[in-house]
Symmetry: C2
Subunit: 432 residues, 2 copies
């Protein structure tokens, strides 16, 4: 894939540099190179510069495909293949835009810095180090704004620009006693059972309606402003859209604006599972000595990671003491946390995105945030400081990234290529 990309970029007269990332930590596996390509080959100081991020790796295919996931198959206006929408399609759309300028003999009005990585689906291993390395400062030096095309429209009806992401604090909660696995017949009722304590603690975290019960957490959340409320009113999104996506009617909020707010700008807490107990469907009867639950909190402005961590640990330790149990309890941050990201939706970058959307789709784009985290956004933001990043998706909400039968509508691919090219134009030529 790297060779293919290098060839394509060279054919488009970009100068290509490969950045090897070394081996994956703890393994002998060579990480795929990050590809940086500059267009034009020589930096033109009379033009602004845009950094384009995309990734050329894809998810494993998984089961359930009705076509060969490795052969792009067009059916009824849809392009089926693994990576069609996430993220090979959008990546190629950027190259199509560049090719279109060249075939039309129109000068590309900006300097372009393409930044394509191959580890996005595995947590972008190596990318943060790459982006923050002093050796690589030159890559970002002239960049005025960045654009990532690696997410989706909110619905199937209207394009969007995305200016925010929730962060994530991921926790492990362990309850244990130093003893052995016990038979529930011989010892049930006589010992403090770690699983009982764990369940009681977990039940203190969140209620059925998703309201976080950890004191102080909700107070960290920025108040809703009138301007925001107005913005939500303009987003085209219905409860039917949402129910179709989740495959059930288990939505908490009747008003789709509330659903969006709870995805975009309010925190959430999910319990993902418990290890150390018996997760088999068999009829077993043990009391397990050490059980660990994992849960995550999605964070939003202005929840700083440390406060969330401190409040959560402090609360659970306090609730554990209330139990009066003789077991031991520990709460720890687990794996990588990521802060929320919030861009400005009203700067030159986003104004260019809006103008391009108007031009291609004849409509105002929805201004959205995403509920999940996209790690590279933060890595790029760190490298770029206060320079703007915009998420400008090509695909739709029903593309099924990561699942079987991933697709990109042919229309989205064609109009999306136009959109990305138009975005360059309007960034170079701001509308009054």
């Amino acid at each position: 894939m790297t060779d293919f990309l290098e060839k394509q970029l060279n054919a488009l007269h970009a100068s290509v540099h490969r950045y090897p990332l070394g081996k994956e930590p703890g393994t002998d596996l060579q990480l795929p190179d990050i590809i940086i390509a500059n267009y034009p080959e020589e930096y033109d100081q009379n033009k602004k510069t845009i950094l384009i991020y995309g990734h050329y790796d894809v998810q494993p295919p998984g089961d359930g495909w009705t076509t060969d996931p490795w052969i792009l198959t067009e059916k009824e206006g849809k392009l089926y293949a693994r990576g069609s929408t996430d993220d090979k399609g959008p990546l190629l759309a950027w190259l199509n835009a560049l090719e279109a300028y060249q075939l039309s003999n129109v000068d590309v009005p900006v300097n372009l810095v393409f930044c394509f990585e191959g580890m996005e689906e595995s947590g972008s291993t190596g990318f943060a180090a790459f982006a923050s390395s002093p050796d690589n400062r030159g890559i970002f030096k002239h960049v005025d704004a960045a654009c990532i095309s690696d997410n989706y429209w909110l619905t199937t009806r209207k394009p969007c620009l995305t200016y925010g992401l929730r962060g994530i604090n991921y926790f492990n909660l362990t309850v244990e006693h130093p003893g052995v696995q016990l038979h529930s017949g011989m010892f049930g009722g006589c010992v403090y059972e770690p699983m009982t304590d764990l369940i009681l603690l977990l039940s203190k975290l969140v209620d059925s309606k998703g309201h976080i019960l950890i004191p102080g957490i909700n107070e960290l959340v920025e108040s809703l402003t009138e301007d925001e409320v107005k913005e939500y009113a303009t987003i085209e999104f219905t409860t039917q859209d949402f129910q179709k996506t989740i495959g059930s009617e288990a939505n908490i909020y009747e008003d789709p604006k509330d659903t969006l707010m709870h995805r975009f700008r309010y925190p959430s807490l999910t319990i993902h599972g418990i290890s150390g107990a018996d997760s088999s469907p068999d009829q077993t009867t043990a009391i397990y000595p050490k059980v660990t639950a994992k849960f995550s909190i999605r964070t939003v402005p202005s929840m700083d990671q440390k406060s969330v961590t401190d409040l959560t640990i402090q609360y659970l330790e306090q609730e554990f003491r209330k139990l009066g149990s003789k077991n031991a309890c520990s709460v720890k941050l687990f794996g990588e946390s990521a802060p929320y990201w919030l861009g400005s939706s009203d700067d030159a970058n986003f104004r260019a995105g809006k103008a391009a959307t108007q031009r291609v789709y004849k409509t105002e784009p929805d201004l959205t945030r995403e509920g999940g985290s996209i790690g590279v956004t933060l890595d790029l933001q760190n490298a770029l400081g206060d320079r703007s990043i915009m998420l400008l998706p090509v695909g739709m909400s029903d593309d099924g990234a990561h699942g079987p039968n991933e697709k990109l509508n042919k229309d989205n691919y064609i109009e999306g290529s136009k959109l990305l090219g138009a975005y360059w134009y309007y960034f170079a030529n701001p509308q009054s």
Copy 2:
């Protein structure tokens, strides 16, 4: 093993009958025969008849042995081998007792019906059908009392007779929504999460101190009588004994009598695990559409199975309705339940056991119950109606049945063989 036993029993002049059990349901595996052996070969109507239960199958060895689990190894007065105490040792002790009578030219004072099975460690598959079959009524016809030697002293200091077992009601609690697995970033806070509801329901079942919170359950438990309290006072059992067994200081009760009561005569509830969520230690971020918890309630007199089931299901359904969730919830009895068993500890059978213990060990045995279930006890009780069953253990609390380095003290084996033989004598010759 069956051939070996048949040979041994024939050598002791017993008449041996094998009862084939057919194939294990759903497999092509032949179940091992139940062996019934009568001694003397001809029923002597002038003698009472005792049925002896034992099992010749053992647990898999597992890891952690310091000797070969399949070679009986004597070290410092202990006989190490898989099955030494559970249950090959006690089974052979019965045969030793018979041999001793014969070598001493003393007439065995009772008719014996040996009943040895080979599926005990796998839930005694086939035994209930065998014991309840009208075809096999003849086996049990003349039996006056039965004795099972397949449990352990309460401590390492004093023999015991066991007259009760807790029952078990095993439940599955499922919460689900009909949709798909969701990304917690995109959907956390917007949908009713099955795992949250499941945790909230589980937290309503039992508190940290093991007190069952299902209304009506504790009211089914027989009140503690003064006679019982006196009995507990005679049992030699310390908190140190208990802590040594559980390998920690996570005992709920300071008074060892309370510990015993909660093992013998009070119910307990254990949550064994959750399936359908992520039980791996990895950092995953899904909301799972269907999660199932399994928990069991150990039952005691007079908690009838149906009331326990009805109260539990009714309560959980009611608590689920209180949540106001749009998920679906179901509670079901799972696998095989077993009622509690309570024998009479003061009948001719137990008096014979007490007299034999006095004779061999020069002490009154502890009168105990077990916290777990031993399924065959109930199967035999069903076959025998109101005829008495006694559990008369040979091994000690620290024998480590099911674990690595299972052992039977040589002393227990020798004195135990005497005990079992003496029990026959005192059953035939009750003391005034």
